[in-house]
């Protein structure tokens, strides 16, 4: 039972690692989230910065710090 559980954990970790390490879709720009409603379903109930951070990681495999994401979102909101 313990062996099975640890195997499942290893598999789950491997899956997460593969998801993080997946090659990027392309050399793209940051998704513009300025038109979305923060803390709502369309941002998966995250802030705009949090959602940008999550999307950039999922789509491109790049982790931004929260401070960076906030700065980028501020730039996008200014340009809206």
């Amino acid at each position: 039972m313990v062996k099975l559980a640890s195997s499942l954990v290893v598999l789950a970790l491997l899956g997460i690692l593969l998801a993080i390490a997946a090659p990027p879709a392309s050399a793209a720009e940051y998704t513009n989230v300025a038109s979305l409603e923060p803390w709502a379903v369309e941002t998966n109930y995250m802030s705009l910065a949090g959602y940008l951070r999550w999307m950039t990681c999922t789509d491109q495999g790049v982790w931004l710090s929260m401070a960076e994401a906030k700065r980028i979102v501020a730039g996008q909101l200014e340009q809206r």
Binding site: I16, S26, A27, Y30, L36, V41, T43, S65, E68, R71
Partner: protein, 592 residues
């Protein structure tokens, strides 16, 4: 409904939809255009001073005309205010002594200039931005002043995309404008190269050329697409860029430049096998690129020398399997041909044979030991049956009648006409309906896109109907394993980078929520003229029946920006979405 859609697709009279403008051949690519000048991307840190001299001499000897170097801010200003140019002076001087022009790339960011409050990981600080514009301006000002008499081409940052630039587009523009001001102050005749984010992003390039920042751009810098992108996709982007985007913009024509928009290839987007580099170089020649920078270690005499003195004439084949471009030099015509996969091709299928003996000398570019000719025992075959073994590495073939080539750079129509399948441009709609056994995807494709991030959805039966199903986990901490996206690519013949702003309506037919109100919904992220945009969130009502959600859009670009045109996003829902069909239709323009 399904049979109605099928009939609609084929039986409707072809509406007189406005055709894409048939652009006239570019004045920037007349017959007999020379191939792009070759430059080398060099990394000074990887070469000792002795090795630098030898390498520069080698590059000059084999025909390179220029080198491109990253002027690492960290190396020239290791501490604030302390500049040192020793790492670059000798290399720049040695390059000039060999007759090589020098392009310097401003950046990456000095690590000490990054605001610690941004919490940028130490190994990524070089890709960040300086905390103050003053620091950047000082670095640029000192660099241009120091190299003013030796260097006259400056690129602003290497690659303004997610991987190499941790800032918003507006922040890049600020850096660009500040750098341009400093460059022009110290060297009014310098050229400023603005790089694209990558992957021949048409919408981004179009935006740049129509923005105030275009005043600061003398040269448009492009990157060769990654190996995974097909030649046909790349050729289509090139054709639209060259004939439509650049042709419509006067922004880059300067007083000292010929009346056309110069394009420099700055290198490959990602590590690329040599055969693909060579093929993309030849393709870039067809579209009038002026210079092409490749990694220094990819530049060799065995492929540069055969291409020297060639001038581009026109195109013979634009895929999908066989590509053939026609060139000429003093000795006569030369056809460069390659195929996506290894295969045998009759030489006569490429172009009429004018001299069989010359055709039999066909050789693979950059592979002196290789031959493109398939030899058969006792082969004294007449010219008509000469067989070539082609693959991704281009072969150079003399003895073919290149007069059959269509002159000039291929247009959008030329590239699309070479693709298999019908031309869907005049059809009012395209669909993906997985209950249609014969043709589930007509002009709208998902099956080829399920390797994209978060797009590993499945086809399953739902109430007896084949559907696309997302896969979302409800377990906390495992959100990274979610697959909430249904990616779609619209057939390029139906709609591709339409700057006229065709209005479309996307209809999603899906099953109702079985978890109640506000538990299931989606929005659509789509490739728009101003970047990716989102539609408003659509809640799917509960109930075990099929529901249709129709969304109208008036700013679609659909230029395959990241390999897709739009995606249905379900993230945020409490259950999976089952999609039976997606249709997209062109709408008439709004009445005035």
């Amino acid at each position: 409904m399904r049979s109605f859609l099928f009939a609609l697709a084929f039986a409707l009279p072809l509406a007189a939809l406005p055709a894409v403008a048939d652009a006239s051949p570019l004045t920037c690519n007349p017959l007999g255009n020379p191939l792009p000048l070759i430059g080398a991307n060099l990394d000074p840190a990887s070469l000792t001073p002795e090795a630098q001299s030898a390498e520069l001499a080698r590059l000059a000897e084999i025909g390179a005309t220029s080198i491109r170097l990253l002027l690492d801010w960290n190396r020239v200003e290791p501490q604030p205010g302390n500049f040192t140019w020793a790492a670059y002076d000798s290399l720049v001087d040695a390059a000039l002594a060999q007759g090589l022009d020098v392009v310097l790339v401003l950046g990456p960011c000095a690590e000490w200039a990054v605001d610690p409050a941004w919490n940028v990981p130490p190994d990524r600080r070089a890709y960040s931005i300086p905390r103050s514009l003053d620091l950047w301006e000082r670095y640029v000002s000192r660099a241009v002043s120091h190299f003013r008499t030796r260097v006259h081409s400056w690129q602003v940052r290497r690659h303004p995309n997610v991987h190499y630039f941790r800032g918003a587009r507006s922040e890049y523009i600020l850096l660009l404008r500040a750098a341009a001001h400093q460059i022009r102050t110290h060297d009014p005749h310098a050229l400023i190269i603005v790089p694209e984010p990558g992957s021949l992003g048409l919408a981004t390039l179009d935006q740049l050329l129509h923005s105030p920042a275009s005043d600061d751009c003398d040269i448009l810098g492009l990157y060769l697409p990654a190996k995974e992108r097909s030649f046909s996709d790349a050729a289509l982007a090139w054709a639209v860029l060259a004939h439509e985007v650049l042709a419509g913009s006067e922004a880059l024509a300067g007083p000292d430049l010929p009346h056309r928009q110069p394009i420099w290839i700055l290198g490959p987007d990602a590590p690329t096998p040599e055969p693909h580099l060579l093929a993309h170089y030849l393709l870039a020649a067809a579209f009038g690129a002026d210079r092409c920078y490749l990694p220094a270690n990819a530049l060799r005499a065995d492929w540069l020398c055969p291409l020297s003195n060639l001038r581009y004439l026109g195109f013979l084949h634009l895929g999908p399997e066989l590509w053939a471009l026609a060139f000429e030099d003093a000795a006569g015509s030369v056809v460069a041909a390659w195929t996506s996969d290894e295969c045998e091709v009759l030489a006569a299928a490429i172009a009429p044979i004018s001299d069989p003996d010359l055709v039999r000398q066909a050789a693979l570019l950059g592979d002196p030991a290789g031959t493109a000719i398939v030899s058969r025992p006792g082969d004294a075959s007449p010219g008509d049956s000469i067989t070539l073994r082609l693959g991704p590495r281009p072969a150079l073939i003399r003895g073919l009648a290149a007069g059959a080539a269509s002159p000039g750079a291929p247009t959008r129509r030329d590239v699309l006409a070479a693709r298999p399948g019908p031309d869907l441009q005049r059809l009012p709609l395209a669909y993906a309906d997985y209950a249609m056994d014969l043709l589930p995807e007509f002009g709208l494709y998902n099956r080829s896109l399920r390797d994209l991030p978060g797009g590993a959805i499945s086809e399953e039966l739902r109430v007896g109907r084949p559907c696309l199903r997302t896969h979302m986990t409800s377990r906390k901490g495992e959100e990274k394993l979610d697959n909430p996206y249904l990616y779609f690519d619209v057939d390029d013949t139906w709609l591709y980078f339409d700057r006229a702003g065709t209005r479309v309506a996307i209809t999603v037919e899906c099953e109702g929520s079985f978890r109640g109100q506000k538990k299931l919904g989606f929005n659509i992220m789509y490739d728009a003229t101003t970047g990716y945009r989102f539609t408003p969130w659509q809640w799917v009502d509960p109930g075990y029946r099929w529901r249709r959600h129709r969304i109208e859009l008036d700013d679609v670009s659909f230029a395959n920006r990241d390999g897709y045109d739009f995606r249905i996003n379900v993230k945020g829902s409490k259950q999976d979405l089952w999609v039976a069909a997606v249709t997209i239709e062109k709408l008439p323009p709004p009445s005035p």
